[in-house]
C-alpha cells in the first residue's frame, strides 16, 4: 500500500497538516495525485485539469477548475486569479472537502460551515464583488442545467430568474417601489442555505489507500 510509504516527518507536510487539518497520510496521497496531474512538475495549470477525462462530463467543470485558481480559496485573504498553483494551494482548496474531525466545538463547526459555503459562493461570484448578481447566477445555472442537455438555455435562464425572484422575496421581504435588489450577498446565501447540511455532505472521503493507481 503506497500511502504507508510516504515519507514521514517532511517539514512542509507538518506545516500543511496543521494548516489544513489533513493527516500526513492524506497529504501524501494528495501529493502523489498532484504529481500525477502535473506530470511531475512543480505547479498545476488549467490545462492539466482539462486532461482529466471524467471531468469532461461535468457540467460545471469550468467553475470548479476556476475554483482551484481563485485566490479567495487559498485562505490568505487574497483576491483574483492565478495562472498556476503549487501543491500547497492544491491542498488548501481540497481541505474544503475534508471530513470534520470527531470533536468539534460549536464554533469550529460554524466556522467550517462558513468556509464551505464560502467556497460555493465563490464559485458563483466570479467578479468577486461579494454579490451574486443575476447575470452571474444565470451563467452558473445555464451551465449547470443546459450542459447536461435536458433543458434549453432559455428554460435554464427562466429558472435562474425564478430562483432570484424567490431569493429576493425571501431575503429582502417588503421592497419599496424604488428599491433595487442587487444580488445575493454572502449573508443572504448563508441564511438561505441554512437547512442545507453542508458540513456533513461536502465531504470527500480521502481513503488511506493509494487509489491513484486505480483511477487514472
Amino acid at each position: 500500500m503506497g500511502a504507508l510509504q510516504s515519507s514521514p516527518g517532511r517539514p512542509e507536510y507538518s506545516d500543511l497538516a496543521e494548516k489544513t487539518g489533513f493527516s500526513f497520510e492524506q497529504i501524501g496521497v494528495l501529493h502523489k495525485r498532484f504529481k500525477q496531474l502535473s506530470h511531475n512538475e512543480e505547479t498545476l495549470r488549467r490545462d492539466h485539469f482539462n486532461e482529466i477525462d471524467d471531468l469532461a462530463f461535468n457540467p460545471i467543470r469550468a467553475q470548479i477548475i476556476e475554483a482551484f485558481f481563485d485566490r479567495r480559496n487559498f485562505h490568505q485573504n487574497g483576491e483574483g486569479k492565478v495562472q498556476e498553483i503549487g501543491f500547497e494551494e492544491f491542498v488548501v482548496v481540497m481541505s474544503h472537502f475534508r471530513p470534520p474531525s470527531a470533536h468539534m466545538t460549536e464554533e469550529q463547526r460554524g466556522k467550517t460551515r462558513r468556509e464551505k459555503l464560502r467556497f460555493l459562493f465563490n464559485m458563483h461570484d466570479t467578479d468577486n464583488d461579494g454579490i451574486i448578481t443575476l447575470e452571474e447566477y444565470r451563467h452558473v445555472v445555464e451551465e449547470l442545467l443546459s450542459r447536461s442537455g435536458t433543458l434549453e438555455k432559455e428554460t435554464a435562464k427562466c429558472i435562474a430568474d425564478a430562483a432570484m425572484l424567490e431569493v429576493a422575496s425571501i431575503s429582502v421581504g417588503h421592497m419599496e417601489p424604488d428599491e433595487f435588489y442587487e444580488g445575493i450577498t454572502f449573508e443572504h446565501f448563508l441564511k438561505l442555505l441554512e437547512r442545507f447540511e453542508i458540513e456533513s455532505r461536502m465531504i470527500i472521503r480521502f481513503l488511506n489507500m493509494d487509489t491513484t493507481t486505480l483511477c487514472k
Binding site: M164, P177, I204
Partner: protein
C-alpha cells in the same frame, strides 16, 4: 347511542346469518310452489362475508378517526386492535367459537401484498440506497442475531427450569425465535407515520423491516425443515444449504421484483391508447411479482418491494397525469384498507379460547428477551456502522431504532402456519406471538411519540425547498463528483454519478417515453410547481375580478397537487432527488372552472413557458372546463383535441418581453408609457415587493444591457397586462403589451376580461404565493380575497402579477 345500535345490528346480523346457513339445504328438495323471493344465503356466503368484514373494519376506522384527540395519543393501529377485541368478543358471545380469524392464506395473499407494494412504490430511492449498507446490516445480521439469541435464551431458560414443563426442543426454539425476530413493516408504518422522525432514522427502521423478510423466510423455512428432519440429520451439508438458500432467496426475490418492475415500465411506455386501465397494469403486475416469487419459494416481500421501487420513476414519467394520480390514490386506498383489516383481525383473533395456553414464564421471558436483544443488537451494529458512515447515527436515533423494532402480523401469520403435529406447543407460541404483537403495537406505539419528543429526536423537515436550494444542491453534487475526479478517489459520488450516467443514457432511453425523458429534472420540477401555482392563482384572481365573464362549473374539482402527499405516509424528503416540490395540501374545494377560451389561451401560454407539454399537466390539473364534460361518451377517450400549433410565436414573444423587462430595468430605463389612461393609478399604489415587469421594453433594448445586473424593484404604471377588452381604444395589435392569452385571438365580450385592477397591477414576487396558497384552500368564497387585501381599489393584487412572472 349510535355505536350501540351499530353493534346490536352487527350481532343481529351475524347470528341469524349463521343460523340460516345451516337450514338452507332443506329448501331445495321440496318446492311446493314458485317462491317469489327466497333467501339464498349459501349462494352468496363467501363474498358476502368478505365484503361485510371489509365494511366492518372500515366502519371501525371511521369511528376511531372521529376524534383526533384520541388518535394523536394512541396510534390508530392500537385502537383498531382494541376494536377487533370488541368484535371478537361479540362473535364469541354469539357463537361460542371464534369463527373468524386472520388466516395465513388470507393475510399473506390478499392483505399483505398491497401494503408492501405501496411501500415500495413510495419509497424514497435515493435515501434508501444511500443508507443501504446500514439497512442491510441491520436486516440480515440484526435479524439473525435476534432469532438466535431469542431461541437460545429461551432454551437456556427452559433448561434452567424457568418455564415449567414444556415440550419444546432446541430446534423448535430456534424456529420460534426466527418467526419472532422480524421487524414488521406494517406495524412500523402504522406507528411511525404519526411521529415523523427524521428521514435517515425512518429509512433505517423501515428499510430494515422490508428487507428482513429475506432473512425471515429463509430462517423460518430452514428451521422448519430442520424440525421436520429431526436433530440427528443435521450436518454441515444441511447448514451450508441453509446459508446458500439465504442468498438464493434474497437475491432471487429481488431479481424477480426487478424484472417485473422493468416490465411495468416498458408496458407503460406503450399504453398511451389505453390510459384508462393503465393503472391496472401496475397492480396486476405487482401482485404477480409477489406470487411469482412465492411460487418459486423466494422472498415475496423483497420481490414486490423492488418491483415498486424500480418502476416508480418510469411510471411517473410515462403515464398520463391522471393515471399517476389514480395509481397513487388507489394504492393508498388499498394499502390503508388492508392495514385496517389486518389490525382489526389481529384483535379478533385474540378472542379464541383454543389458542390461549398461558405460561407465564414463557411469555414474559419472550417479551423481555425480544426487547433486550433488540436494543443490544441495534447498538452493537450501529457502533460498527458508525465507523464507516460519514454521518454517524446519533445515540437518540439508535434508541428510537431499537424501540421501533415492532413485531406485527407477519410474525403472527408465521406462527399460525406452524405445524401442530411437529410442534406440540403451537398454541402457546401463537398466544405468545399475539401478546408480543399487542405489546409492541399498542404499548410501544402509544409511548413512541412521547419518547421521541422527550429525547428530542430530530424530526422530519416539512418546509418547502426553495429553488435556490435545489439549484445549489445540484451544483453541489456536481462539485463533489468533480473533486472526487480531481483527487483521484473513487468515492460514493463517483459511483453515484456513474450510475446516474448509465441510468440516464441507457435505462431511461429504453424505459421511458421520449417526451417523458425531457421532463426529467427535479429542478425543473420545482420551477414547474411554481408555475402551476401561479397559473392557478392567476385564474382564481381573474375569476374573482372578471368574474361575470367566467362560466362557472361548480362540479369540477380541481386538484392542484402534482404529487400527492397523503397523511398516512409522508416522508418529506429533504434530499432533493425525489422532492416533489411540495405544493400545498390538496385543494379539494370545488373551484369554478374557467371559460373555454380562457382555458385554451392559458393552455397555450403555459405550455410554451416550459417548452414541453406542460399544458398537458395544467390541463389535467387546473382546468376542467365545461367542454371537457361534453366529451363523447366513450370509455377510453377523455382528451379533447387541442391545437398544438400557433403557440410558439405568441409565447416566444412574451418570453422575450419578460426578459427585456429585466434589461430595461437594469438599464434604469423607464419604459415608455404607451398607455396613457391609467397614470392616475400609479401614485396610489401600495408599495409592493415586485420586480419590474415592463412589458413595454422595445426591441432595441435587448441583449446589450446585460452588464448591469440590478433587479429593479419598481412599479411602472400601465406596464402591466393590457387587456384590449377593457381598453378598446388600445391597439390590439400591440402585442408587446398583451399577454398571450388575451392577445391575438378573437376577443369577444364573452371572454374573460381582466378588471381594471388587474391591468394596472404588476407581478409580485413568489412570496405572495405562500400567502395565497393557504388562502386558496380555505372554504370561504373567493370573494373573501377582498377581505384579505386592503379594501382599496388601488391596492396591489398579488395574483395576476405572479403569473406574468412566468409568462
Amino acid at each position: 347511542g349510535q355505536s350501540h345500535t351499530f353493534f346490536l345490528l352487527l350481532i343481529c346480523v351475524v347470528s341469524p346469518v349463521k343460523g340460516e346457513a345451516v337450514s338452507q339445504h332443506g329448501h331445495s328438495s321440496n318446492i311446493t310452489g314458485i317462491p317469489i323471493i327466497s333467501f339464498k344465503w349459501h349462494h352468496v356466503e363467501t363474498p358476502y362475508l368478505v365484503a361485510f368484514w371489509v365494511l366492518v373494519s372500515f366502519l371501525g376506522k371511521l369511528v376511531i378517526e372521529a376524534n383526533h384527540h384520541v388518535t394523536s395519543v394512541i396510534p390508530e393501529s392500537a385502537l383498531l386492535i382494541c376494536f377487533g377485541f370488541i368484535l371478537g368478543g361479540m362473535i364469541w358471545a354469539a357463537d361460542k367459537v371464534q369463527t373468524f380469524r386472520l388466516t395465513p392464506t388470507v393475510f399473506f395473499f390478499y392483505l399483505l401484498p398491497q401494503v408492501i407494494l405501496d411501500a415500495g412504490y413510495h419509497m424514497p430511492n435515493k435515501l434508501f440506497f444511500t443508507n443501504l449498507g446500514g439497512i442491510l446490516v441491520h436486516a440480515v445480521i440484526g435479524t439473525c442475531w435476534n432469532a438466535a439469541s431469542l431461541g437460545l435464551s429461551l432454551w437456556g431458560c427452559q433448561m434452567g427450569g424457568a418455564m415449567g414443563d414444556l415440550d419444546i426442543g432446541l430446534l423448535q426454539y430456534l424456529l420460534f425465535g426466527s418467526l419472532m425476530a422480524a421487524v414488521d413493516p406494517v406495524a412500523v408504518i402504522a406507528v411511525f407515520e404519526q411521529v415523523h422522525v427524521n428521514d435517515v432514522l425512518f429509512i433505517m427502521v423501515f428499510g430494515e423491516s422490508l428487507l428482513n423478510d429475506g432473512v425471515t423466510v429463509v430462517l423460518f423455512n430452514v428451521f422448519d425443515a430442520f424440525v421436520s428432519l429431526g436433530g440427528p440429520k443435521i450436518d454441515a451439508a444441511e447448514i451450508i444449504k441453509g446459508i446458500v438458500s439465504f442468498f438464493v432467496v434474497a437475491f432471487g426475490g429481488s431479481l424477480v421484483g426487478l424484472v417485473f418492475g422493468l416490465l411495468i415500465s416498458l408496458l407503460t411506455r406503450c399504453t398511451k391508447n389505453i390510459q384508462i386501465i393503465e393503472p391496472g397494469f401496475i397492480f396486476v403486475l405487482g401482485y404477480l411479482s409477489y406470487l411469482t416469487a412465492e411460487m418459486l419459494s423466494l422472498s415475496a416481500i423483497l420481490s414486490i418491494v423492488f418491483c415498486g421501487m424500480c418502476c416508480q420513476k418510469y411510471i411517473n414519467a410515462n403515464m398520463d397525469e391522471n393515471s399517476v394520480q389514480t395509481v397513487r390514490y388507489a394504492m393508498k386506498a388499498f394499502a390503508n384498507g388492508s392495514e385496517t383489516i389486518i389490525f382489526v383481525f389481529l384483535g379478533i383473533s385474540a378472542i379464541d379460547k383454543v389458542i390461549w395456553v398461558w405460561n407465564t414464564g414463557f411469555i414474559l421471558l419472550t417479551l423481555l428477551f425480544v426487547l433486550v436483544y433488540r436494543f443490544i443488537g441495534v447498538f452493537f451494529l450501529t457502533w460498527i456502522l458508525n465507523r464507516y458512515r460519514l454521518v454517524p447515527l446519533e445515540f437518540v436515533d439508535q434508541v428510537i431504532m431499537s424501540y421501533g423494532g415492532l413485531r406485527g402480523a407477519v410474525a403472527y401469520g408465521l406462527a399460525v402456519m406452524l405445524d401442530e403435529n411437529k410442534i406440540k406447543e403451537k398454541n402457546l407460541m401463537v398466544c405468545t406471538t399475539l401478546i408480543v404483537v399487542y405489546f409492541t403495537v399498542i404499548l410501544q406505539g402509544i409511548t413512541m411519540k412521547p419518547l421521541v419528543m422527550w429525547l428530542k429526536v430530530k424530526r422530519a423537515a416539512v418546509t418547502e425547498v426553495s429553488l435556490l436550494e435545489k439549484l445549489t444542491n445540484k451544483m453541489f453534487n456536481h462539485t463533489l463528483v468533480a473533486i472526487e475526479d480531481i483527487s483521484g478517489q473513487i468515492g460514493h459520488n463517483y459511483m453515484r454519478s456513474k450510475w446516474k450516467y448509465f441510468e440516464e443514457n441507457w435505462m431511461s432511453w429504453i424505459l421511458m417515453k421520449p417526451s417523458a425523458r425531457k421532463k426529467q429534472d427535479q429542478v425543473f420540477d420545482v420551477f414547474h410547481q411554481l408555475n402551476l401555482k401561479d397559473a392557478m392563482e392567476y385564474v382564481t384572481e381573474g375569476e374573482r375580478r372578471g368574474s361575470l365573464e367566467f362560466v362557472r362549473n361548480e362540479n369540477s374539482i380541481i386538484d392542484f397537487k402534482k404529487k400527492s402527499e397523503s397523511e398516512s405516509f409522508d416522508i418529506n424528503n429533504a434530499n432533493m432527488s425525489n422532492d416533489h416540490g411540495a405544493m400545498s395540501t390538496t385543494s379539494r374545494d370545488p373551484i369554478p372552472s374557467v371559460s373555454l377560451e380562457m382555458h385554451e389561451q392559458i393552455m397555450k401560454a403555459v405550455r410554451e413557458a416550459e417548452a414541453i407539454n406542460a399544458h398537458h399537466l395544467l390541463d389535467q390539473h387546473l382546468y376542467k372546463s365545461r367542454k371537457q364534460h361534453r366529451h363523447r361518451f366513450s370509455r377510453s377517450h377523455f382528451d379533447i383535441n387541442r391545437d398544438e400549433k400557433e403557440v410558439q410565436e405568441i409565447f416566444q414573444r412574451t418570453m422575450r418581453n419578460r426578459l427585456k423587462s429585466f434589461t430595461s430595468a437594469k438599464m434604469g430605463v423607464k419604459p415608455p408609457k404607451t398607455i396613457v389612461k391609467h397614470t392616475q393609478k400609479e401614485q396610489q399604489q401600495k408599495p409592493m415587493k415586485i420586480l419590474s415587469r415592463s412589458f413595454l421594453g422595445s426591441e432595441g433594448d435587448s441583449a446589450s444591457g446585460y452588464d448591469q445586473s440590478y433587479m429593479r424593484a419598481t412599479y411602472r404604471a400601465g406596464a402591466g397586462i393590457e387587456n384590449p377588452a377593457f381598453m378598446p381604444d388600445l391597439d390590439p395589435m400591440d402585442l408587446l403589451q398583451i399577454p398571450p392569452w388575451l392577445g391575438e385571438s378573437e376577443l369577444d365580450s364573452s371572454m374573460v376580461a381582466l378588471s381594471h385592477r388587474a391591468q394596472v397591477d404588476l407581478p409580485r414576487t413568489p412570496s405572495n404565493l405562500r400567502r395565497l396558497a393557504p388562502l386558496r384552500i380555505s372554504t370561504r368564497s373567493t370573494d373573501s380575497f377582498t377581505l384579505e387585501n386592503i379594501p382599496d381599489t388601488q391596492s396591489a393584487t398579488p395574483i395576476t402579477d405572479n403569473i406574468y412572472a412566468w409568462f
